[in-house]
């Protein structure tokens, strides 16, 4: 097990190095962009000297490696990601404000996807080829093919007519509540359950729009894994040896089937974060994905670098968690890496 941890840490370190290289690539890309981002951000009326001064402040008048090294030093020593030309704040502050909100949204989605996806997939596999299975397969196939924004729009139409859930925006969280930046969690920490309820209510639609596609996909994968393993010798053996049906399905069949499901689950959760921006736009959710979109559309150099960096780290962490989970489920991997 210790060796597995070492292997995963190695992988994480590798990713950090990759991300540093990537940040350099992004810096060089930004130099290639036609038009001067500094000039654009300050408006056409700004005098040349002010722009030149700003450029020099941001190290845009220096050689690329120097600019990158300066940025890297800032990141490592004081968590300084440079100044955003779009919000005119330090990017680190922006991240601190927006990222927790997106993470919270994705957290709820991740739980929903895992529970519902696996449950639906299991039901589908147990009742293989029944009408229920066919119905589930049909709906989940449709779900996989439907873009998140279409699901969002569909839910919007429904909630306009039904009027149960708020169709966009979030309740204002008082400034003195803010601790983690996650809206729901902050309410819980303060003990304001009424506001937490409101936050949850506002999250229902964004969460559903973001999750339904992944739920459908997970259900398909999990059903497939279970159906494949039903034919395995060890299931037949356990069956003849006299393991009860409940245990056979929920344990002997479920555990090995969960390995491929978990791998896909990791990919889905990681891609949720990348896909969230559409949902955040539709439902006016003040999250990191929407911020990223603005940064990208405004060609904000330090913003783009930071955004790619943060996404890369989230990707890597999710992957590492999946690796740990798979090693936990599959003794073959645990034992082989430790030999």
């Amino acid at each position: 097990m210790r060796k597995t941890v070492v292997a995963i840490l190695k992988k994480l370190l590798h990713t950090v190095i990759l991300l540093l290289v990537l940040s350099f690539v992004v810096f060089s890309f930004i130099r290639l962009i036609p038009g001067d981002p500094v000039k654009i951000s300050m408006g056409p009326m700004t005098p040349e000297e002010t722009i030149a001064q700003k450029r020099s402040e941001l190290y845009f008048d220096r050689a690329l490696p120097i600019q990158w090294a300066h940025w890297l030093k800032g990141v490592i020593t004081e968590g300084d990601f440079g100044e955003s030309l779009f919000t005119h704040r330090n990017v680190a502050e922006d991240i601190k404000q927006y990222l927790p909100k997106s993470l919270e949204l994705v957290f709820y989605c991740a739980i929903l996807i895992l529970i519902v996806g696996v449950a639906v997939g299991t039901i589908s596999a147990i009742f293989k080829n029944s009408w229920l299975d066919n119905l589930i397969r049909f709906i989940s196939y449709l779900g996989v093919c439907t873009p998140a924004y279409a699901i969002g729009v569909l839910l919007l139409v429904f909630s306009y007519t039904l009027g149960i859930f708020p169709i966009g925006g979030m309740p204002t969280i008082p400034d003195n509540y803010v601790r983690t930046g996650m809206m729901g969690l902050d309410c819980l920490l303060v003990g304001d359950f009424a506001l937490y309820g409101q936050v949850l209510k506002c999250m229902v639609l964004p969460c559903l729009s973001l999750s339904l596609g992944s739920i459908a996909y997970m259900a398909r994968i999990h059903r497939g894994a279970m159906v494949e393993n039903i034919n395995a010798d060890y299931i037949a053996f356990a069956q003849v040896a006299g393991v009860s049906r409940g245990k056979l399905v929920m344990k002997h069949l479920m555990k090995p089937s969960f390995i491929p499901t978990l791998t896909i689950y990791g990919l889905q959760v990681a891609s949720l974060i990348g896909n969230a921006f559409i949902i955040e736009v539709i439902f006016r959710y003040p999250g990191f994905s929407q911020y990223s979109l603005n940064v990208i559309q405004n060609k904000d150099p330090y913003g783009i670098v930071a955004v790619t960096f943060v996404f890369g780290i989230i990707f890597a962490v999710v992957n590492a968690l999946v690796d740990i989970g798979v090693a936990f489920l599959d003794p073959r991997i645990r034992i082989n890496t430790s030999e």
């Binding site: 039903i230 034919n231 395995a232 010798d233 060890y234 299931i235 037949a236 053996f237 356990a238 069956q239 003849v240 040896a241 006299g242 393991v243 009860s244 245990k247 344990k251 002997h252 555990k255 090995p256 390995i259 489920l329 599959d330 003794p331 073959r332 034992i335 082989n336």
Partner: protein
């Protein structure tokens, strides 16, 4: 023959698969029986349907894709059909599979897999009692270091140890009928004999009926009382093991015996030329005809029926009793 006394009775079993090229008639129509405390051997070359027969008997053949028809499969007098039948099968049949590395769940500890069997077979005992039962079970298969084995995953055990675990698990419930599907094919030759001896000993001790499928003809000869010889899904010869081995009647059995190298024999054994015929649109006559030295027009036209011979043997050959000609 009083059916109630039979450990297993299969009547006219047929198994087909539907594929693109047509219908695979894996088992066209097969009957066999095993008496109480009888040890029966099942031999024949790879792909002749032995595993399919055993899986049908243990009610674990996946259907679909398999299309199964039968007049009867009865375990200890109870048909395998329906809920009651399945329960009866599960209570009365144990089975050991070919490959011990795929018949143990790779993600669960041995102790977990064994406990789950015990819990459903002997419910309501304390944890310590289950622990003792597992140790006893492993002890009975002469497993070295049973405590360590219980805490291991299958991947941590050698092939021989895995098969011992499988046998221990198969013996944990008190069944009348034990099906062993080539239990040593995936193992080293050195371990093969140990495992077969162990199986033989345990089955004799507990007075179980046994069907042993094996390519180790020596072991079949040593362990079993009666033997079924299968060719391309059909039983071609049945009889007392000793007699079949000493005086095979069916040309396929004769070839099979000749293909086994003997310690006393000279040189390399003869094989049987040719392959098993395609199961898709199989020949309408005898399935062995294309490889048979005795083949005549009759053999190409009609399939032979398993018929009693004077010496109590049953042989499916139009030319049974013509050994002298070979």
């Amino acid at each position: 023959m009083e059916k109630k006394n039979l450990a297993l009775n299969i009547e006219n079993l047929s198994v087909k698969y539907k594929i693109y090229e047509g219908i695979l008639e894996v088992i066209p129509g097969l009957s066999m029986h095993v008496e109480q405390a009888e040890r029966v051997g099942l031999i024949g070359e790879t792909g002749c349907g032995k595993t399919t027969v055993l899986k049908s008997a243990a009610a674990v053949l996946q259907s679909p894709p398999a299309i199964v028809h039968k007049d009867a499969i009865e375990v200890c007098g109870v048909s395998v059909d329906g809920k009651k039948g399945l329960r009866s099968v599960r209570r009365n049949v144990s089975m050991i599979f070919q490959d011990p590395s795929s018949s143990l769940n790779p993600t669960l500890k041995i102790s977990t897999q064994m406990t789950d069997i015990l819990k459903s077979q002997f419910p309501g005992k304390r944890k310590a009692e289950y622990g003792q039962m597992m140790l006893d079970a492993l002890d009975s298969v002469s497993m070295p270091a049973p405590e360590r084995v219980l805490g291991s995953y299958p991947v941590q055990l050698s092939g021989g140890m895995r098969q011992r675990v499988c046998i221990a698990m198969a013996l944990m419930k008190d069944t009348n009928l034990m099906l062993a599907d080539e239990p040593t094919t995936a193992l080293d030759v050195t371990i093969e004999e140990q495992i077969l001896d162990l199986l033989d000993k345990l089955v004799r001790e507990k007075k179980k009926s046994l069907i042993l499928v094996s390519h180790a003809l020596g072991a079949i000869r040593k362990i079993t009382d009666r033997v079924y010889v299968m060719y391309a899904g059909n039983v071609v010869e049945v009889g007392k093991t000793k007699e079949v081995f000493e005086h095979p009647h069916h040309p396929y059995t004769i070839g099979l015996m000749a293909a086994t190298p003997k310690l006393t024999g000279s040189g390399i054994a003869d094989g049987i030329a040719g392959d098993i015929p395609s199961y898709i649109n199989p020949p309408k006559g005898c399935r062995f005809a294309s490889r048979c030295p005795r083949c005549t027009q009759e053999c190409l036209e009609a399939p032979p029926i398993l018929a009693d011979m004077e010496d109590g043997r049953q042989v499916a050959c139009h030319h049974a009793g013509e050994e002298a000609a070979v």
